[in-house]
Symmetry: C2
Subunit: 244 residues, 2 copies
């Protein structure tokens, strides 16, 4: 891009701005940059996402994904991680940028451009502690009824879910939602939960095997009935399978 016009002098006046504004700060006014993160977890075979309830402002009482403004000098990913940590106390295992929402009216108070992220954590046991900055916080099953969302967060929720679904098909993204070792059935249930439909066990095993991302562990999980073989992903970093 051209950042030549970073100096405000070179910038054309924007619509209806007074030519000689009273407060100099106003001339420099620019949209702010925020990140909003859709955090997913799978708990008991259900896909859930974390929401916080706003405490003040015109949208008080509405719910939103954890997020906030980006600082000068901060990477976008770092901003997302920082907000997630300060809001939920959780460090995500996976973080991916989704899309940037910039409608000036998405936030009634100011023009805030929001870079949406999706994050995954693998341990549903660590329950997030709501920050004092919010009225409440909690996990909500998705797809399903979410409480009334602030801003354009309903859009962001849809976007995140469809991205997650798509990535199941050709990556090992499930590695970031599952514990280190798991049974084939658990993997299948995870896929079924996210995709919202059940899968044929045999075809599923075949497809997953074809991806070649799993390794079989030499142990089994014993339960009330026939023991199940345990597996883990070969790599804990995102792998993309070529499907030419």
């Amino acid at each position: 891009m051209d950042h030549t016009n970073i100096a405000p002098e070179q910038r054309p006046q924007h619509n209806g701005a007074p030519p000689a504004p009273a407060r100099r700060a106003h001339r420099y006014e620019r949209p702010k940059v925020a990140v909003d993160t859709v955090l997913f977890v799978v708990d008991g075979g259900r896909l859930k996402t974390y929401l916080v309830q706003l405490k003040s402002g015109p949208l008080r009482g509405k719910w939103a994904f954890p997020g906030g403004l980006v600082r000068v000098g901060e990477m976008l990913d770092d901003a997302a991680r920082r907000q997630l940590l300060s809001t939920t106390g959780l460090e995500c295992a996976y973080l991916e940028q989704l899309f940037t929402f910039g409608d000036p009216s998405r936030d009634p108070r100011a023009h805030v451009v929001s870079v949406a992220y999706m994050a995954l954590i693998s341990d549903p046991a660590r329950v997030a502690v709501p920050s004092h900055k919010y009225a409440a916080g909690g996990w909500y099953e998705v797809p399903g009824q979410l409480p009334p969302l602030a801003y354009d967060h309903a859009l962001i929720a849809d976007y995140a879910l469809s991205r997650l679904k798509a990535k199941l098909a050709y990556t090992n993204i499930a590695a970031f939602v599952l514990p280190k070792s798991f049974t084939f059935k658990e993997l299948e249930d995870l896929y079924a939960a996210i995709l919202g439909r059940s899968l044929d066990r045999r075809n599923f095993r075949r497809r997953i095997a074809a991806m070649g991302l799993l390794k079989k562990l030499p142990v089994k999980r014993y339960g009330p009935h026939r023991p199940a073989g345990l597996y883990s992903f070969r790599k804990q970093t995102l792998q993309v399978v070529q499907m030419l």
Copy 2:
């Protein structure tokens, strides 16, 4: 997201900022938002993109995609269109957001978060006139040797090309690069140019026909040899073909 902390008072101090800054404006400092647009055109069977050469600043002489800062109250798409129009005089037929690049060091002068876009125009005849804000401007064939790029624009270029390639497979995105009517051969050449490889004519016709996005016109194009049937896309808006 939480925009609760829009009020600067609620915002935590960022790294190393003096607790009582001399200039109040500094306390309010935030990353700026820009858009950068990769404009593609197909001219003579070659895919080309438009670049401008920076006139001043630490990156003087380097080349960049048209772009600039977003104004308060402006939609991101509108910002991209505005910059494209002011830089090249062109109105794009198609515009799509790609990704947002936010590395604070991507611009040596300031922290500028850039929302990258891809744009398509159909008429290679309209030659862009370089704006006076730039030392030069011109079309460069891609994939191919581009001049030295400023910022992280090499990344953006790669990203745009791969997105364009991917969309050929399951959308009528070619509609925005071709004139209203065209021959099958022209369409095939377009695909070949963008994908960087040649295609089997018969299989290509079959696949395109299967997408069902074309209609055959009752006229032919006469040339020095056998006339070719003319086609057009049924819809001039983006259509996505389901491939279950």
